[in-house]
Amino acid sequence: MNAIEIHDLRKSFTGFSLNDVSFSVPQGTVMGFVGENGAGKSTTIKCILNLLKKEYGEILLFGKDIVEHELAIKNDIGVVFDDLHVPETLNATQLDKFMKKVFKTWDSNYYFERLAQFKIPQRKKVKEFSRGMRMKLSIALALSHHPKLLILDEPTSGLDPIIRDEILDLFLTFMQDETHSILFSSHITSDLEKIADYITFIHNGEILFSEDKDVLHYEYGIFKGNKEEISAIPEHAIIRKRNGAFGIEALVLKNEVNEVFSLEKPSIEDIMLFYVKGSV
């Protein structure tokens, strides 16, 4: 079963549109959703959450249509944006009182344990929090009704590596339950290297690929050489190429290239850069 399934999603604004976006997040996995700023990550996530109205296509969460079963679905998801969107005069204890009324499954003990773990003051107003504290509180709020699916829109952007690491550990703990899933949008590809099972790459409102992370690492390779050397690589093996500092670099299908060529293992960032800056 898929936690999220998107088929042919379309949504347009002046100067930007999502074009037939399709991908799925299998249950029990972490999907890294990557793309440069303005590529359409947040728009896609807002459509998934029905914060934006889709123009065409189908969005299913746990096999149910998000528009038809919105409230039932939202009982089982936790959402973290790139900031904490609650009135700044509130504090963490007051948010617990509110959430208790919203979720039948709200677990105050778990929530206060997370606050203690993250050293979040219970009575301090949100407006006095640092950015790291705001994000940690946002994550504690998203986890404390024990959701089955986390939808994370740039939750680690602007945070230092120590806090990012703490947050990623918490997500890994969440994934210890095999029925749990995460859609993790980020342009910090190193976070996704640590946590993601699959990578979906969006560029200019179109999905360029949605693939198992290991497949990306082991089926793709980076070739570095000069013009003569690259001409020896079969055309169909070259996915993208670009001019590098010392000649030509190409993202290639490893199995289609003769073993005499030495290839480097690509990172997600390398693959992203080839797709965005390279040419066919």
Partner: protein, 207 residues
């Protein structure tokens, strides 16, 4: 729904505390001047319009973007603001009425006159909320203010132009005086219609 009202009350708690100083000042002034009407008007309007403060806090924090990820219907999000405003008005009345009666122990203001004023003020507050809430929900607090000025200014301008053709307002008031006890119910009906409009507006919004 109760969660949303609770959240708004917690959000504006500090604001209400701040307003308590203003109310204390007017309370002292009214006791000395034996003028309860000003105090009554100020309490009703300051307390009731804290709903707008709650809406402004929501807007500043992009609360609606977050609230719509929770299992709360859009109808409940809108309706909670209307219920909050009625609750605040009741709170204002509970606060104001004993003070007003206390002041009038020392003068002989006719109770019929007070009843008329009370009805008119409550109705006016309900009608103002009925106008303000859809505007603020549609346009937000900054644009909303502009729209509100336009809405108040344009009819005012045109009624000024045709004022001679309009019936004398005093005569109208005297004629409807006997029905004035119905006015707050009319106000509540208008507020209910306003909530339907606001819900329709909110359901079309994107976040």
């Amino acid at each position: 729904m109760t969660g949303l009202i609770l959240k708004d009350l917690m959000t504006i708690k500090r604001q209400i505390k701040t307003q308590a100083f203003v109310l204390t000042f007017f309370l002292i002034t009214s006791i000395f001047m034996q003028q309860s009407l000003i105090l009554f008007t100020i309490i009703i309007f300051i307390v009731t319009f804290q709903t707008i403060t709650a809406l402004t806090y929501d807007e500043q924090s992009s609360w609606d973007k977050y609230a719509n990820t929770l299992p709360i219907s859009k109808g409940d999000i809108v309706l909670s603001k209307y219920i909050l405003s009625i609750l605040l008005m009741l709170f204002g009345l509970i606060l104001a009425l004993p003070i007003v009666f206390f002041i009038h122990r020392f003068n002989n203001w006719a109770s019929a006159e007070f009843f008329l004023t009370f009805n008119l003020l409550v109705t006016l507050a309900l009608c103002m909320l009925a106008l303000l809430l859809p505007i603020y929900i549609k346009f937000g607090s900054i644009k909303g203010r502009m729209v509100l000025i336009a809405i108040c200014f344009i009819p005012g301008f045109f009624s000024g132009l045709i004022s001679k053709q309009l019936p004398d307002i005093h005569l109208v008031l005297i004629n409807i005086k006997q029905y004035i006890f119905l006015a707050p119910f009319g106000g509540l009906f208008i507020l209910w219609l306003s909530s339907l409009i606001s819900t329709a507006i909110y359901k079309h919004k994107e976040f």
